[in-house]
Structure formats: C-alpha cells, structure tokens
C-alpha cells in the first residue's frame, strides 16, 4: 500500500513539475521510479538452470562414451610413453565440463558460500 502511494505521489509530482516547465526535475522523479522497480530482481540471483542442463547433458554423454568404449580406453590409454596425454587430457576435459555442471547444480540447489 505504502509503495503504491509513493509511486502515485512521484507520478503526480512529476506531472506537476512538467506542467510548470521543470522538465529535468520531472524526469528525475520518473527515473527514480524506474530504479526502484528494477531492484527486486538483480541479475546475479537468477538460478543457472540452463547451465546445469547443458553441462549435465555434455557430461552424461561423456560418461556414456566412456562406459561403452571400455576396451579402447583400457588398451590405448595405458600404452605408456606419449600416450600419457590421453588419460591426463581426458581427466582435464571432464573436470571442466563436469565441474561446471556441479557448480551450477549446487547453485540451483541453493547452496552458496557464506558472505562476509
């Protein structure tokens, strides 16, 4: 109720100033109104549903590929020498994709660090 009155007051004040020819002051009143209207929904508070779903799907695909190609990975990845690139590189890629999924998942679940 209070908020409505304030809005109404501000609009009326703007109209008054506009009629009196004080256009800048009128605009200031309207701009203030806009700023308060935006406040309830800051961009940072949005939960990252899209990120969770996209990275989740990518990660799942990766794991399906792993489970269905077990013979390949146990043979080629363990040949030693420069083949070390395979396991280490794969682990790194999985950590980025799955790590991003995990981070988004926790945010969606509402688990955030304490703000000091």
């Amino acid at each position: 109720m209070d908020a409505r009155l304030t809005k109404f007051d501000k609009n009326m004040s703007a109209v008054c100033f506009a009629e009196a020819g004080e256009f800048d002051t009128a605009k200031e009143f309207l701009a203030e109104k806009e700023a308060t209207a935006k406040q309830p929904e800051p961009a940072g508070k949005k939960k990252p549903y899209a990120g969770m779903v996209i990275f989740g799907c990518l990660s799942l695909l990766g794991y399906i590929a792993l489970i269905t190609n077990q013979k390949l990975v146990t043979e080629v990845f363990t040949m030693g020498g420069w083949h070390a690139v395979y396991p280490v590189g794969t682990a790194l890629i999985f950590s980025f994709v799955h790590g991003a999924f995990a981070s988004n998942l926790l945010s969606v679940l509402g688990l955030e660090a304490k703000k000091h």
Binding site: F77, T78, G80, A84, Y86, P87, V88, A91, H98, A102
Partner: protein, 443 residues
C-alpha cells in the same frame, strides 16, 4: 590476474613434461604388462604377449601359481621372480577389473564423500580412495596412479572455489608446490624401486606401512590440538614452533599475504619436500602439507587447507604425467571418481565458510586415525604374501579384511557426517543472523 597465474603455472609445468614424454618414461623392469594367449598345464608354461612388443614370450609358472590363475586375453601385470630363474612368474594381477553396477555406484559414492573431504580439509580424498580402490580389487600401483590422475582436476576446481572465498594463498601454494615436485620425483623413484624388487605385495605393504605411520602420529597430534581448541574459548593461536620458525631471519625471506606470515623460504622447503614424497607414495601429501603449514609455517587451518589444494593441483598434474608414462592409469576409475568428487569438492569448499577453524582440524584428525586402523589390519596379510610371516589362517584373514573394510566405511561416514552437520548448523545460524540484521536495519 590470478586466473592468468594459473595458466602461466600450467604452461610452466607442461614444458619439462614434454621432454620427459619424448624420453619414453621409465617402465618397471621386473613387472611386465600384457596378455596371456594360452597356457600349457602339463609343462606349466604360458604364452605371453607383452604390450607394445611384436612376438610372444614363454613364461614359466612359479611354484605358487596354478594354471587356473592365468586368465587368458585379459590385460595383466606380471611380476617375475628373478631368483627362481629366467621368466618365472611370481604373481599375476589383473590390471583392469570388470566394472559392475555395484562397483560403479561404490566409486561414485566414495568419490562424492572423498571430494567433500578434500574440499573441506584440503586433501584426504585420496586417503580414502586409494584403500577403497584396493578393497575393490585394484592393484596398489594402479590405485595410486588412477587416484593421482583424478586428484589434479579436482584440486584445481577446489582451489579455484576456495580462492574465490579469499582463503587460498597462491604464493605460499606455488612455493610449496615447487619443492613438492622434487619430493614427488623422489617418492616415485622409491615406489618404482619397490615395485621392481618386491612385486605387487611389496608395493602394497610399503604403501600400507607409510599410511599407518603418518596417520597415527600426525593424526594423533592434530586431534590433540583440535580437542584443546574446542575446550578453550579463545581463537586458534599460532603454534610455538611456527613462531620460533618465523623468527629465523635467513634470506630469502618471504611474505605471504593471505596466510599473514613472514618466513624464510628455507623453512618451507622441507615441508614441501615431505609433502611431495608422501603424495607420490600414498597419493595424500596433504597429511604432511596441511599440518606442516599450520604448525611449522604458522598459517590458520582454513588457509592451510585451501592452499593445500593448490599444491595438490600442481603435483597431482606432475605425478599423473609420470604414472601415465608408465601406462598405469585406469581412466575408467579416474573419471568415475571424478563424477562424484567434483560435486563433493565444491560442497566441501563452501562448507568451510560456515565453520570454525578447529572443526577442520577435528575432521582431519578423526579421518586419519580411523583410516590408520583400516590399513593396519591389512599389514599381516601383506607380510604373509612376502613370506615374512607364516600364512594367515582363513578365519583370521577374513576378520582382518572385515575390520579393514568397515573402518574405511566408518572413516568416510563419520567425516561426511561431521562436515554435513557442521555445515548445516553454520548455514542455519547464518540465516538467523541475516534475518536479525534485516529486522534491525528495517527498524
């Protein structure tokens, strides 16, 4: 800026690795990897195709090996008994266990709780993961190698999160990591020497033995310290040893901003060295690194555990390349553990923002001590494998393996429980405080 530091660090690490990669890496001498093609029951011989080699070799079955033990067409690690003659098999270990749904679920759960522990106390995931994998039937060297390869991406994610919370001291982490890499090299040399000379049983015994010693002594001290802190009302104090160390004015002196410590670089070197050696041996360097940073360098438990993640990342990457060169990483194990641990590590990291300093020490100590029981129960069996004591009676062996298994489960469960409860209480309290502040500010 700090992201850039991570990238530069990564590039610096890759440079020396490339040269080692082209050198081919040192394969273990008395241990051969390959596949058995056929077995001759009458002559007690088996046809063996070594990985990467063209022809086949004829191996003789050692006295303890039955023809039934030879699994055909499955990649195995064979250790040879040089004393018994040429090409005599001492032991056969299947390199890659068959994945069952049960094992996959076990790895996911262990990964999640292990990650939670790592995010919270800086390391320790591997402390539980190495023995857990060994309990699932993975040979010791493969368990350590696969663990190492899962550790560095996980530590990277954890370190990034805790840096964002303002807890990680990047400079201290990098200084420690530089010396820890040297420690890792020494540790790997020792591990390979043991694998070559005493086979898998020797390697298992060595890993378990080091586990026991470190866990009991360091864990006991940390528990004592956490107990003292929880009794007293005052905040955690810098240890007397650290204060004395900080007074040593031996250049180059270094100032660590986040840790709020000014100390000679010479003090951090041995701490880093031992951290690395332990990490290469049992894949958990943090159980020297974190107490070292708390009691010797003088950082708080929160900063020490966060900084440990940076060290773990650097030497985990280094160690993974080394183990990869020997071809001992089972990537299936690595990735399945990562699935759970990447969630766990971020959860553990945000948990630290809600708890008091001694809570981190308490979780660390209790986990270490319970896992010590688990590894201790395995030692008689490994001693028997090496013929250092008479074979265990079947009943005794069963009881010991049960103790080992359940101690591990207890360690995981209790750590997970303590962290969850502490985090939940912290979160509830934070919410209440936030609401109170809101009420006050709105009048």
């Amino acid at each position: 800026m700090k992201k850039l530091l991570f990238i530069i660090l990564g590039a610096l690490l890759i440079l020396p690795m490339v040269s080692t990669v082209y050198a081919g890496g040192p394969p273990p001498k008395d241990v051969m990897k390959g596949v058995f093609l056929s077995v001759d029951d009458a002559n007690r011989t088996a046809e063996f195709k070594k990985s990467g080699a063209e022809g086949t070799t004829e191996l003789v079955l050692g006295a303890d090996i039955q023809p039934g033990d030879v699994r055909l067409n499955k990649k195995v690690m064979v250790s040879l008994d040089k004393h018994a003659g040429e090409n005599v098999i001492k032991s056969i270990d299947i390199m890659f266990m068959d994945m069952t749904v049960k094992k996959i679920i076990a790895l996911l759960v262990i990964g999640l709780i292990g990650g939670l522990l790592s995010g919270f106390i800086g390391s320790g995931g591997a402390l539980v993961l190495t023995p857990a994998m060994m309990s699932l039937g993975v040979p010791g060297a493969i368990a350590v190698a696969s663990n190492m390869c899962h550790k560095f991406p996980k530590a990277m994610v954890g370190a990034y999160k805790r840096y964002k919370y303002g807890q990680a001291d990047i400079k201290l982490g990098l200084v420690m990591a530089a010396t820890a890499i040297i420690g890792v090299q020494i540790g790997i040399k020792i591990q390979k020497y043991i694998l070559n000379h005493f086979g898998n049983a020797g390697s298992n015994l060595y890993v378990s033995f080091i586990f026991m010693i470190v866990l009991v002594f360091v864990g006991g001290y940390v528990l004592y310290d956490a107990y003292k802190l929880s009794k007293g009302t005052d905040e955690a104090k810098v240890s007397n040893l650290a204060l004395r160390m900080q007074k040593i004015n031996l250049p180059p002196m270094m100032y660590f901003k986040v840790a709020k410590v000014r100390i000679s670089a010479w003090i951090t070197i041995p701490v880093g060295l031992f951290t690395g050696m332990l990490a290469a041996t049992i894949a958990v360097g943090g159980f020297i690194g974190v107490p070292g940073m708390i009691y010797v360098v003088g950082a708080s438990a929160v900063v020490a555990s966060a900084t440990e993640l940076i060290i773990a990342f650097v030497m985990g990457a280094w160690g993974s390349i080394q183990w990869g060169l020997s071809g001992l990483i089972d990537i299936r194990l690595t990735l399945l553990i990562l699935a759970g641990s990447l969630i766990g590590v971020q959860l553990g990291a945000l948990g630290t923002t809600y708890v008091k300093d001694y809570m981190i020490k308490l979780v660390m100590a209790s986990t270490m001590l319970i896992v010590a029981v688990s590894r201790g129960a395995k030692i008689p069996g490994y001693l028997a494998d090496l013929n250092l004591r008479p074979a265990l009676e079947p009943q005794m062996a069963h009881v010991l393996s049960q103790i080992s298994f359940w101690a591990l489960v207890t360690a995981l469960a209790s750590a997970g429980l303590i962290i969850s409860v502490a985090m939940f209480r912290g979160m509830t309290q934070a919410k209440v405080e936030a609401r109170r502040e809101e009420i006050i500010s709105h009048g």
